[in-house]
Symmetry: C2
Subunit: 589 residues, 2 copies
């Protein structure tokens, strides 16, 4: 059989092709037998073209066409014809023409798919979609995200290449240096009892490449974390990973802004505005109670502790005595909320460990609520000024420890915005969050952890704090936030082996741990290390936002479930005893 040679894809024919002889290949998407004429919508990745089988034109081919069913794969030859004006479909790129079929090859038949592929709005259980991933991709939306992901990767590579960044492939079979997340392990057949680990990120490799003098590195890298998965996590995920020597944070941020601009331009044909807004971590927490605020809407938080300490409202006064704060937000036009609305928001914040939600409405130019009487006029005046309360607004206030209050208000702010449709879905609001603390204290484990990772450089001015008060030290780290998601983060790295050792000491790593896990790296630092800095962007997260989906599984070709299994391949799965024998490992009971 000599395969017909496709002349066009199914998305490309139009009026200018009328009378041309063409050859198309694809899947039978829709099938209509109008007594005499048979109409078929032929589909491929690029679009849909209507085929006509006319018994008066070719009786034999028409008879073959009668056997066709949904999803059969065919190639046809025929002539492009103009559709009559009443059958023109202007929603399709190819909607003004059809192809009168003269010859056909049937490549393969198809069983009836487990779900319809020609209905756009069908609601299919995700387990079925994942089991038949190849059919789900065929439906269209997932294919579009994959094409978009390809475009994003191409745009990123072209951009970084143009700035002399070199893509270097780093190993997948690496060393287990557990911290933060759990490693996936790979038993060694040659060294029984030894294991490789899949990389959580190429962090050490990219720093070694800077030590190696590669100057500017990038990689679109697969990373692995054996964690219990949330909705937007996968056991393997993709980072646009970069590192540069001799640069400044300003330079890196400008490069990253250009990178994101290039990706958005390519995928959405959208010009995003640079430079991005910047907020210090401290200011960000004050204004939004979060280090990844959604800036597509306003509604900042206000700390009114200093004002309401002059009230007589004991709930506030008691909290202020216990190291608590009083913080609130002003909902523009929120005075139209019902008692039920307010009760619902109260129940909502209680999920975050908050006792109560105080509120006041500004109506007829005065604050009204059941607690207004505890707030003297001058206190009210100061509140109105600080929170910018206007006629028709409502304010919510929370009194609690700063961490709890911020967390609850962050969630409340986002929930109100969603409920009141304050979020512009087509806006992309980027933010750099800078000046993170270098460490955080983990009360559960009673120990100090890195806020980012142990290779993050302290701010130069804060170096002395490493000895005196490490928790107060700020880092030269910067996260990049888009629409309430952290889409990446980076930092200046430590390039002095002494400082690196000091940080490991603060993290209470023993000499032995330092030596066995990072010994080679500290040694590497001692052979002449350039100042270097870098950043990694979460590609999956960015593609989720670009594709306007809530599920990370929609932007990955063959994703795993939240239980880390591949339903299509039935994986992970059992293996032959001989395979385990060779690895000298035994399964526990």
């Amino acid at each position: 059989m000599h395969l017909f040679q496709r002349s066009h894809d199914c998305g490309s024919l139009n009026k200018t092709d009328v009378e041309s002889e063409v050859c198309l290949s694809g899947w039978v998407h829709r099938y209509r037998d109008h007594g005499g004429l048979i109409f078929i919508d032929l589909r491929d990745r690029f679009g849909i073209t209507q085929l006509v089988f006319d018994p008066a034109h070719n009786k034999e081919i028409h008879q073959q066409a009668e056997k066709l069913r949904h999803e059969w794969v065919i190639s046809i030859k025929g002539k492009v014809m103009l559709r009559s004006s009443e059958t023109t479909n202007l929603e399709l790129k190819t909607g003004e023409v059809e192809v009168l079929v003269a010859d056909m090859q049937i490549h393969s038949k198809a069983k009836t798919p487990p779900f319809s592929l020609s209905d756009d709005f069908i609601d299919i259980h995700e387990e079925i979609r994942l089991k038949y991933r190849y059919l789900d991709i065929r439906r269209g939306p997932i294919a579009n995200t994959l094409v978009s992901r390809h475009k994003a990767m191409m745009a990123a590579r072209k951009y970084l290449d143009s700035l002399s960044f070199i893509e270097v492939t780093t190993p997948i079979l690496g060393k287990s240096t557990p911290e933060g997340a759990r490693d996936y392990l790979v038993p060694s057949r040659i060294y029984h009892g030894s294991f490789y680990a899949l990389p959580q990120s190429p962090q050490l490799f990219k720093q070694l490449l800077m030590i190696a003098g590669m100057d500017r590195y990038f990689q679109i890298a697969q990373c692995f974390r054996d964690e219990d998965l949330r909705a937007d996590r996968q056991p393997e995920f993709t980072q646009i990973d970069m590192e540069m020597s001799f640069g400044t944070p300003e330079q890196l941020m400008a490069i990253v802004e250009g990178l994101i601009k290039a990706i958005f331009k390519e995928c959405l044909k959208k010009d995003i505005t640079t430079p991005f807004k910047r907020l210090s971590h401290k200011t960000c927490m004050e204004l939004y109670g979060s280090d990844r605020p959604d800036l597509r809407f306003d509604m900042p938080l206000s700390d009114i502790s200093d004002i309401v300490k002059n009230s007589t409202f004991s709930v506030f006064l008691d909290q202020l005595k216990e190291d608590g704060i009083v913080k609130g937000l002003c909902v523009k036009g929120g005075a139209n909320m019902t008692r039920k609305d307010i009760e619902d928001y109260t129940a909502f914040v209680q999920k975050f460990g908050i006792q109560g939600l105080a509120w006041m409405k500004m109506q007829e130019n005065e604050l009204k609520s059941n607690i207004v009487k505890f707030f003297p006029d001058d206190v009210q005046k100061e509140m109105i000024a600080k929170m910018k309360i206007e006629e028709g607004d409502l304010i919510f206030m929370i009194a609690d420890l700063p961490g709890t209050a911020n967390q609850a208000l962050d969630h409340l702010r986002r929930k109100i915005a969603k409920d009141r449709k304050l979020i512009h879905e087509d806006r992309y609001e980027f933010l750099w969050v800078t000046d993170f603390p270098l460490f955080r204290f983990s009360p559960e484990e009673q120990k100090i952890d890195s806020e980012h990772h142990p290779f993050t450089s302290p701010k130069f001015a804060d170096l002395p704090l490493l000895d005196s008060d490490p928790i107060a030290a700020r880092s030269e780290a910067y996260d990049i936030v888009l629409n309430g998601y952290e889409i990446g983060g980076g930092s200046q790295r430590v390039h002095d082996p002494e400082v690196q050792k000091k940080i490991f000491d603060i993290l209470k790593l023993t000499e032995e741990e330092i030596h066995s896990r990072f010994g080679f790296f500290i040694e590497a630092l001692s052979y002449g290390t350039p100042p270097h800095l870098g950043l990694a962007l979460g590609l999956d997260r960015i593609m989720m936002i670009l594709s306007k989906t809530d599920s990370i599984r929609d932007v990955i070709a063959f994703p795993k479930t939240q239980k880390a299994s591949d339903l299509m391949m039935a994986c992970p799965g059992t293996v032959a005893p001989a395979q385990l024998n060779e690895l000298n490992i035994i399964l526990g009971e």
Copy 2:
């Protein structure tokens, strides 16, 4: 400390920059203290620039410069000056200028490296180079291969993107479907006793993407094989992997030729000639005794069985009776070989299980050797004609079973070419080998194996042979060979689930094996599969050839040894008992 902002890299200054104020950063490569003046060669990835520290110009900076040692990392500010004509170094891009240093920042000191980084021709034991990989990269040659590899990947991506191929990332955590090579396994923490496997190639995923309608896929993919490693193998390696629907082998071959052309153009600025030569597997074995012949030199093999059967040379006659063949090659000008040379070649072929190596020289217009007397004149005449023997040539002949004879003659042919310097090192001789057998019989295991893999399509004309004589069936497969290396291979795939099942049956997979390993894939084939075909190129192998190195480790940033260990990180390594407990696996004794 405010970092100096680099204005140029160390490879870019020239005469046109004289009198400019510049800022450079890099490593102290060479250091010369000429009494008063200190000269430093400053190095970065891009080149070397000479710095001058003059006490008359800046005494304080000159004093600091006295402390500098090899591999310290510095930034300097200074003015570009023309070198005097006697100190100009035309071998360096920057050799006409030097920078008179006005200010300096010392970023980091360096311990004395374990080997010199400023001597180009030093011979360092590879174990040391691998342990200090970051220093070995800094030396230059490895860095150059990494840059070249980046360029090759960029060129491949741009080219394939321009042809509507979409790069899709497929999972690293896959399913174990052992065949051919051993899988690396990853124990699952969630499903105790179950394992993921690292992919040996994305073969099934890319075929599923064709079933999914993605039309044209590519990926520069990491692949994994837990095999005992030869010099040019690594446990993880990189493929340029591609697949397309509705295409013909002719189209695919043209696309691949264009791809290779693009890579060579980018990396070597070389225009290679397309289309490439083609030989059927059968012809290739006849002419070169190998399916990956080095065509940078001639010296084909000749089967002279039909001629020498009329001789009286019993060694040949006995072999011919035992299903053997007599094959030979003609060494142009080889009559100058000494008895010792011939003895050495005889010993060489004996390593491949050959009894003896017959030879004749053409001198004074007649064949001469100790065995000529067994060959009547007309036999000699036919031999001369067939083997194109001319005055001054030598022929070698081997009588053995075809497989053994071909293997020995292939090695002999290459050894002679190397010894006699017949190989043009700057030539790139590509070859398509087509019409491979679909299966091969493994005498050790007494079973039929796939010559390539079980998804390879038989030639359409040979489909009936699957039932009658599968070993005789040819496949629609094509390997691509460069300078004696197989650099890639591809095929038309089976797109009919019935044919696919028949092939699994011939391979003697049980119903249960087929179901558990490939059940999902056979099911996928049944929902409407386009005819599809694809190919994978071994990027590491290509980069080895481009970089003119014999070691695959030279083209990988962080390679493993032949025992699959990373000497820099000391990996694989032991892990904490808690990690194994979570996976519920126990180490054997």
